[in-house]
Amino acid sequence: MSAEKTLIRRFRESDFLYDFKRSPVTVVSFVIVMFLILLAVFADLVAPTNPFDAGSLNLMNGFTPPMEPNAFTGETFVLGTDDQGRDLFSAIIFGLRVSLFVGLTAVILAMVLGVSLGLLAGYRGGWVDAVIMRTADIQVTFPSILIAMLIFGIARGLLPPHLRDEVAITVLIIAIGLSEWVPFARTVRGTTMVEKEKEYVQAARLIGLGSGQIMVRHILPNVLSPVLVIATITLALAIIAEATLSFLGVGAPPTEPSLGTLIRIGQDFLFSGEWWILLFPAFTLLALALSVNLLGDWLRDTLNPRLK
């Protein structure tokens, strides 16, 4: 209890919080991200309708502009409806959920993979290090979005056609996760190589701690803050990558549309005047990506001024 209290107090009095409060842009970004995350988590409660329950859709409601009653049914939708009469506000909230879910899990995958490989490379050195880091070198010469597309394409090729839509989200997560591990691995490797030479690690080795234990208990804590910074920046990249792939039609399937899928659908109606079908999902994605990016930038400057 008291330990908890001091922790809270220490956090309250820390520079971290002080810097945070002094940067209004960061505070606003944080509030936006939190708000969007809450919307996504409680989508079932917040959304007026379930956009994927085909039974609840009324085609008569199609193309209702925002805040105007529909000419036939008299129903009003805050952000309007799409061609099938789907409430756009609900669709965006559920799309947000898909986008955030894919983004977060992909980052976790990239982080676990990158941190493990980085620890291994830095700690073992030798050929293990050489193989891992050369692979990383080669991979980063190609843009991660291209890598993700390739992995997605290969996975589609390996899967039987009837499964393709069903596991599309999983494939998407793996594709993005595998394309973003390198920055984690590089940073962790560097720190590990420095830390493993320090006396306390040598001492831990002398008293007979195993390599795994040393890596997890002694070296890992040292890399947490740069990893947090990279994770935040990667989250923005992953959200953008997901939206891009879905927009291109090689990501989230139409049955589980993400923000990118919604924008892809919206583009079809741009010329016929139904601007809201495109612009609302677009600005939601913009707000999300920009806020996460700003948070990442601020974290980097605050925690790790030299990591640029």
Binding site: I138, T141, F142, P143, I145, L146, M149, L150, F152, G153, I154, R156, G157, L158, A236, I240, A243, T244, F247, L248, G249, V250, G260, I263, Q267, L270, F271, W275, L278, L279, A282, L285, L286, A289, L290, N293, L294, D297, K308
Partner: protein
């Protein structure tokens, strides 16, 4: 000097073989060439005959060498869809992509360097702050969203520019160009901005950061203390030293531009190799994917090689430093 170049070339060839290996594995094991060529109803004898004809029973390394040999001769097999030779498809569409990429790269480089230098020299001016803030939005915006928003503004609302296709093209030999017609040039504007904007902000932020770093250096102080005019200090001393990292990054970004062209081409229905690739991914057209991978891989390796060699040519310290390391 020659030794460095040779070693660098060796590395490139190694990476190329690696890329070729991935393409080959994809070509050979992802999707089933036999099924795709014969359909599900073929008899066992027909299948055996085709497997033999395609050499699928040969040892792996023989098949790989065969694959590489044919790839070098620009033979990537036939597309599963439409059964056209992949090489012809690529040749037909490559000019569109390359023209788009080059124009975008020039746009990004030109405005990126200008804006970067400006924001570094006048970093307290209002306009510089406006540029810096909007550049953050530029970095955060996904490429496709930039494209869609540009279409909305300039094609739908204002109606100034076309939103899809290349416009009229002119045929010069095997090369089709849209650079010589008014409608072609108009069609190029939005895709080129879309594709170049991200790289532009990247180059701008890099130039600014490098420039600020260099302006803090002693030799700039010394240049000022010698009474060299401001423009000489900025352009003769600071900018040249800034350009080395910028050339590296900008060069490497050229590869990204080709990759991001996939997105831009989809948004604007630009008939290039990127659009072809995305369709191939969607329809699991493995030969096209594999050929695209090889093509882009080669391009990336070539760009990396050229950037490294340029780097050697520009910085005398690296030139000599590397030489010394080679000799000892």
């Amino acid at each position: 000097m020659l030794l460095i170049i040779l070693r660098r070339l060796g590395q490139s060839v190694f990476v190329l073989f690696l890329v070729a290996f991935v393409s080959f594995m994809m070509f050979r094991y992802v999707g089933n060439p036999v099924d795709n060529l014969l359909g599900q109803e073929a008899t066992v004898e027909q299948r055996e005959a085709l497997i033999e004809a395609l050499g699928l029973n040969d040892p792996l390394h023989v098949q790989y060498l065969d694959f590489v040999t044919r790839a070098v001769q620009f033979d990537f097999g036939n597309s599963y869809r439409g059964a056209l030779p992949v090489a012809d498809m690529i040749l037909e569409r490559l000019p569109a992509t390359l023209e788009l990429a080059m124009v975008s790269a020039l746009f990004a480089m030109f405005f990126g360097v200008i804006a970067g230098v400006y924001t570094a020299i006048f970093r307290n001016r209002f306009l510089a702050n406006v540029i810096m803030s909007s550049s953050l939005i530029g970095v955060s915006l996904p490429t496709f969203l930039i494209g869609v928003l540009l279409i909305w503004l300039f094609a739908v609302e204002l109606g100034w520019l076309p939103s899809f296709g290349r416009g009229e093209t002119v045929q010069i030999g095997f090369w089709t160009t849209s650079l010589l017609t008014v409608s072609g040039l108009k069609s190029l504007v939005l895709p080129a901005i879309t594709l170049g904007l991200y790289q532009m902000t990247l180059i701008m932020r890099l130039v600014r950061a490098e420039m600020l770093e260099i302006l803090r250096q002693d030799f700039i102080r010394f240049a000022r203390a010698r009474g060299l005019p401001e423009h000489v200090v900025y352009f003769g001393h600071a900018l040249k030293n800034t350009l080395i990292p910028v050339i590296t990054v900008a060069g490497l970004q050229l590869g990204s531009i080709v990759a991001f062209a996939i997105i831009t081409e989809t948004v604007f229905q630009w008939p290039g190799v990127g659009l072809m690739f995305i369709n191939a991914v969607f329809f699991v057209d493995i030969p096209v994917m594999s050929a695209y991978l090889l093509l882009v891989g080669t391009l990336f390796v070539a760009i990396n090689l050229i950037v490294d060699l340029l780097y050697l040519a520009i910085d005398p310290r690296i030139r000599d430093g590397q030489l010394k390391r080679q000799n000892t």
